[in-house]
């Protein structure tokens, strides 16, 4: 207790020297929590958006389906399993037929993925109700990024070409029945959504599908021939890997900031031990053991981070709270990033993140404070009293 009291007295007495270190360290606290909060918020938002727009509770994939290999699309479809017909009829499972095609907007040629979906589905946030066919045309919905890329607007007609199951090319005029805003590029960029029955007709694949989107988790359901079930976590694993890889930049920044803060403390400690030799000698002469002086200096160094946490809280809590409520505008569009990213990111600052960061910084500060302080234990007090560098 005495060591804490003396350390605080020494720190506060040192004035500007202490506060400069504390302010630098408090920046590190706030920026570390801020960057981690953004990643956490991005992760949560991306997961929520992916679930809302693309994944739902899980998917059955046709055994040949590989979303990363468009060449597999020709063969990766099959009849909807009989076991699931009831679910499909009640829309608790939504079949999606996927194939390749070519769009010809404004005389350009654009390869696209054509997805057929049931217009009355409610598992995904896609505005598929707009796909209800009107007589004599083929309605389609596209995302805003796709619309911007193709310069298509609602009500426009555009030529779509595809190959049916026999390999025969065919083409038709489709009408853009709706344009939706989404943060999920995998349902937007290069994607065009048609009514599934229409696509089945165009492909000559009645009652077939490529994937089946489920409204509840079927992980424990019996295995179906030719269909593989992927639960929500499995479907989200890719995005988590991407966020983690993008988070590496954050970790580097985190490391740099932590190192800067630690250098400030380490530097102060090393300088203190050289500059305060007389003081160290005096402590010993007045009755402290060298071990007690080591503890005093270690606590003094570590207390920088305690003061920094308090100072950081003073300006960091209102600043970060405001950001968590109002969000941070992201200048890039989600398609530039390749994964779900909203125009506004809402950082998430969990109690675990804050206490974890404070504890890590406190621990590292204590270590870098102790490291140079160990030298005190080897100081000769009579030499230290004279202020001789040892």
């Amino acid at each position: 207790m005495l060591a804490f009291k003396l350390a605080l007295r020494n720190l506060l007495g040192a004035g500007l020297r202490t506060w400069l270190n504390v302010i630098v360290l408090s920046f590190s606290f706030v920026v570390i929590i801020w960057t981690k909060g953004i990643l956490e918020g991005w992760d949560r938002q991306a997961r929520a958006d992916m679930v809302k727009w693309e994944i739902a509770a899980g998917h059955y994939w046709h055994q040949d389906y590989d979303p990363y290999d468009p060449l597999t699309l020709t063969d990766s479809h099959g009849p909807v399993p009989d076991d699931l017909i009831t679910n499909i009829n009640s829309y608790s499972i939504v079949p999606v037929l996927i194939t390749q095609g070519t769009l010809y907007p404004m005389g350009r040629m654009l390869p696209v993925i054509i997805r057929g979906i049931e217009p009355r589905q409610k598992l995904l946030a896609l505005p598929t109700m707009k796909l209800k066919e009107s007589e004599g045309d083929v309605p389609a919905i596209i995302g805003s990024a796709m619309a911007e890329n193709t310069k298509l607007r609602e009500g426009d007609y555009v030529t779509l070409r595809w190959r049916d199951k026999n390999g025969t090319f065919d083409a038709t005029e489709i009408r853009i029945a709706g344009i939706f805003e989404t943060n999920v590029p995998t349902v937007d960029v290069g994607q065009i959504w048609l009514p599934i029955e229409k696509l089945r007709e165009m492909m000559l694949l009645p009652e077939e599908a490529t994937i089946l989107i489920t409204g509840t988790d079927f992980s424990n359901a019996p295995v179906l021939d030719h269909w593989i079930y992927k639960n929500q976590n499995s479907l989200l694993s890719d995005i988590e890997k991407i966020i983690k890889s993008k988070g590496a930049v954050g970790i580097i920044m985190w490391g740099i900031l932590l190192m800067m803060a630690m250098l400030a403390v380490f530097d102060t400690q090393v300088l203190s031990i050289f500059r305060r030799q007389k003081e160290i000698g005096t402590y010993v002469a007045l009755g402290m053991t060298r071990g007690q002086v080591v503890i005093l200096f270690t606590i003094e160094g570590a207390m920088h981070s305690v003061l920094a946490a308090i100072v950081g809280a003073v300006y960091g809590i209102p600043l970060l709270t405001m950001q968590a409520i109002k969000g941070i505008s992201i200048p890039l569009s989600s398609s530039d990033f390749g994964i779900a990213m909203a125009e506004k990111l809402y950082p998430v600052y969990s109690l675990g993140l804050i206490t974890g960061t404070v504890l890590i910084v406190l621990m590292v500060t204590t270590i870098v404070s102790y490291w140079p302080s160990r030298k005190i234990a080897k100081l000769n007090p009579t030499e230290a009293l004279r202020g001789r560098i040892q």
């Binding site: 007295r9 020494n10 007495g13 007045l286 009755g287 053991t289 007690q292 009579t382 009293l385 202020g387």
Partner: protein, 216 residues
């Protein structure tokens, strides 16, 4: 080049009693500071025996010697060695904090000590705001506040002018008489030599002369 060994003290046989006001006198390098450091348990003799208040310095553990310094020994240094970031009050309070004395008693003891040296009006000042004489008086108060048995003063007047030197020497003499604290000075300053009642002359690490002065 030598072996790196240097004999600072050799064949010293001295006994200081309670309430002495003694000077260890000699030129630079004569061993007076080394002797003071051994008495102060900051150093220990490589050979022989030094007994301080009944305890052999060489046999003391670091904790025991620190405890002895904390309770029984006061130090006054040539360069004052005040804590620059503390106020006068906090500097004088420091030895009492180490002893764990309670706040109200501590405050009274600090104020008493500052009164002895005539610095009660400077209680909130920082050492940088004090003159050399005032700083040394704070150092005396810090050494005396815990009522030690022995005060060790290493060249206490070396950085002071004549008037301030006499002032602090008179203060220490008064404390010695009133509290019966033993004062041991390491010095070659004539002003200090003029005040002490026992003069131990050191030369090349040996006692050249041990003289007791009768004063009224």
């Amino acid at each position: 080049m030598g072996s790196g060994k240097f004999t600072a003290l050799n064949g010293i046989d001295l006994l200081f009693g309670e309430g002495e006001f003694a000077g260890i006198i000699g030129p630079s390098g004569s061993g007076k500071t080394t002797l003071l450091n051994i008495i102060g348990t900051l150093d220990s003799p490589s050979e022989g025996k030094a007994v301080i208040l009944g305890q052999s310095v060489g046999n003391l553990s670091p904790g025991a010697s620190a405890a002895l310094r904390k309770s029984q020994l006061g130090f006054i240094f040539q360069t004052y060695n005040l804590f620059q970031v503390y106020s006068v009050f906090e500097n004088v309070e420091f030895p009492l904090l180490l002893q764990g004395i309670e706040t109200s008693k501590r405050r009274k003891m600090v104020l008493d000590a500052l009164e002895w040296v005539g610095l009660t009006e400077k209680i909130g000042s920082r050492p940088a705001q004090l003159s050399g004489g005032e700083s040394q008086r704070v150092a005396i108060a810090r050494a005396m506040v815990k009522r030690p048995a022995i005060v060790l003063a290493d060249e206490p007047t070396a950085n002071l002018d004549a008037a301030n030197s006499h002032h602090i020497l008179q203060t220490m003499e008064k404390l010695n008489r009133e509290l019966h604290t033993t004062f041991l000075f390491a010095t070659h300053d004539e002003k200090v030599i003029g005040y002490v009642r026992r003069k131990v002359f050191l030369l090349d690490g040996k006692v050249a002369k041990d003289e007791i002065i009768e004063k009224n």
